[in-house]
């Protein structure tokens, strides 16, 4: 959106902007130009542009500089998140939306909450794969992976020996959903229409009719 349109949306003409003593740049920054950097790129400069305090900048830079998951673990995460949220007719997959990098970040951002459950869960998964098929999870076939996933993706089945796997899969499902639906791809798929200056005038007429509130 052009700055002028934006200001129109806010309800401020250029005159009142002067009165406000708002640097024009401030208004422009409302809408940074879309950054072409792919979301999977870890050091996306777009992360710098959202009002960080100095101590937050330092902390986030430190997190970005570290690597928690091994290459093997990242590969396993990538396979797993795409089983949870695959590409379909509406949108791309979780890995296309940058979910593995998001999970890597969260593991470092909240080490107490995530590091052991995730690392341990991935190891649990490989152990299952080795027991059943004598290979790691990423080395077995799609059908073999699904065989394991079926045993841990449905909490109410309560299959003996699978309870820890169920808890791990719940965590992976939740992190994947958070990462996917907050990505550009996910937001577009979901159809969220907001985060733009506008004039709210209640729900549209056809919606009111649909729910008998017209």
């Amino acid at each position: 959106m052009k700055r002028r349109n934006l200001l129109k949306g806010i309800g401020l003409g250029s005159l009142s902007l002067v009165g406000l003593n708002v640097p024009a740049k401030a208004a422009e920054l409302l809408y940074p130009a879309p950054t072409p950097t792919p979301e999977v790129e870890k050091k996306d400069p777009v992360f710098e542009q959202f009002g960080r305090t100095e101590y937050e900048k330092v902390r986030d830079a430190k997190i970005f500089a570290e690597q928690f998951f091994t290459k093997h673990e990242m590969q396993t995460i990538t396979v797993l998140v795409d089983i949870i949220i695959p590409k379909d007719t509406h949108s791309g997959s979780a890995s296309e939306a940058g979910v593995p990098a998001f999970i890597e970040f969260m593991a470092k951002d909240r080490p107490e909450e995530f590091q052991t459950p995730l690392r341990g869960g991935l190891s649990w998964l490989d152990n299952q794969a080795k027991r059943r098929f004598e290979k790691t999870f990423i080395e077995i076939s799609d059908a073999q992976r699904i065989e394991i996933v079926e045993d841990i993706a449905y909490p109410n089945r309560k299959k003996p020996g699978m309870s820890q796997g169920v808890v791990f899969f719940n965590l992976m499902r939740n992190l994947t959903a958070s990462g996917f639906w907050t990505s550009k791809i996910g937001i577009q798929d979901l159809g969220y229409q907001g985060n733009v200056p506008n004039q709210w005038d209640g729900p549209p007429e056809d919606v009111l009719k649909q729910y008998g509130l017209g």
């Binding site: 009165g19 449905y154 909490p155 907001g194 985060n195 009111l208 729910y211």
Partner: protein, 582 residues
Amino acid sequence: MSDFQIKTTPTVYDVIIVGSGAGGGMAAYELTKAGAKVCLLEAGQHFDPADPKYITQMKWPYQSPRRGASTRYRPFGDFDAAYGGWDIEGEPYTTKDDTKFRWFRSRMLGGRTNHWGRISLRFGPQDFKRKSIDGLGEDWPISYQDVAPFYDEVDRLIGVFGTNENLPNDPDSIFLPPPKPRLHEMMLQKNNKKLGITTIPSRLSILTKAINNDRGACFYCSQCNRACIAYADFSSSSCLCKPAMKTNNVDVVYFAMAREVLTDAKTGLATGISYVDTLTMEEKTVKGKIVVLAASACESARLLLNSKSARFPEGLANSSGVVGKYLHDSTGASRGGIVPMLFDRKRYNEDGTGGLHVYSPWWLDNKKLDFPRGYHIEYWGGMDMPAYGFGWGIEEENGLFPGRDGQPKEAGGYGAGLKDDYRRFYGAYIGMAGRGEAVAREDNYCEIDPEKVDKFGIPVLRFHYKWSDYERLQAKHMHDTFEQIMHEMGAVPLGKKPTAEQDYGLNLPGEIIHEVGTIRMGDDPKRSALNKWQQAHDVKNLFVVDAAPFVSQGDKNCTWTILALSMRASRHIVEERKAGKL
């Protein structure tokens, strides 16, 4: 950052104000306008929501690497405007006797007004006279009529939307037009009417129309907690401190952590403030003829209790011994649910203003209930911007409803079917939160911890706070009501209703961030620290204008009353000074 930093203070200011939140900002605004030379001490940094370096408004979740998740520094999410939190490095607080108390602090110009929900409710006539009604607690030394003219002025000065409903204890006001309700809010209004639960447009300090040339109108992004680039919502920094600074009558000192109120040993009058420059750790003092405390209910009590001298051995303004006591926060309990009727709903921009467009003020008579004080209900829901936590716990939800094909669905899952569930459920969630009045008790208090100091060497607060059955039974009633509302509208409540052993889901004290009562006002100097003008009984040039002087909380949020009372106290200071009495 520290634009107005002063090194030493040869000046003797007319007034020193400690804290720049709602109370301090209003005092600075009123006193500078009256021509007083003011020094405003702020423990944190400068903040201006229109300055690019602070802006988090209109950012997308993917601009945060944690997708808006909370951190220690931003407990209400990565985009929230408040700097500080529950756990500030080097600034601990302690508890005793198994107390669980949580203390939220903001270290920035405008303080906690940069974070809050902008819910701007006047106290009603009954809220000032609760003891006369139910025999509990204490009446205020003032009545609604004393405050009403100042509420009117605050309405005009700052702006609040809402509707005049002619309710007995939720006064009509000078309202801007309210935004229309969102879809789920219309459903709630229709539904609650059947249940006799009053559900009316909310009352928020957000400009649905511009009221002056300094502030723009709301552009409906729903992000008030990120602070507004157009200054269309109320924060003390944007709406009070900024105009005060324009008078050139105020020196704002940032990074100034107050240690002690200084007094003259002979006269017993306040002479200034000793503070620590948090950047250099230097000890500094600033001198003034009048001292106004507005550091927050608990920080102001801490400051007085730490200001001990031979003349004031129990701390300043504390001959009554009440300072720190009668601490109370609003009660809180909440429940979420799913409205199946809203599955697969049509998409449109439903952001609206920040927060709720409708709420339920207290609608019942406590004489007919087993708890003494009321609560209001805040609602949430709608097609809001996805953030960290989106879809979290779907394995508890998607097995409760048939799929698109009408067949039962198994909870949890993965793949395209799961992906579709998230789409279906989007915008079908509602939530409700009760915010009620607790009864102020002498044995709920903060005091100085005899052993611990913060990183500045200032003794820290220790909290002792227990809920009583008054609050527990109120929370039980909240939860019964939430289920009643959801059942009536065909919604499915999520999770389990909390039990008696869980205190009926009551939030921990402090968590609602409405702490009040620690330096209460009253006519009797033996039972109160301040007179009805919020002036210390013991020290006539010392005033307190945050929520510490509150005698009781009301089933309302406290900010609008802080503002009205600070305006009232500030006008009194000006009058007394003109009359030569100060």
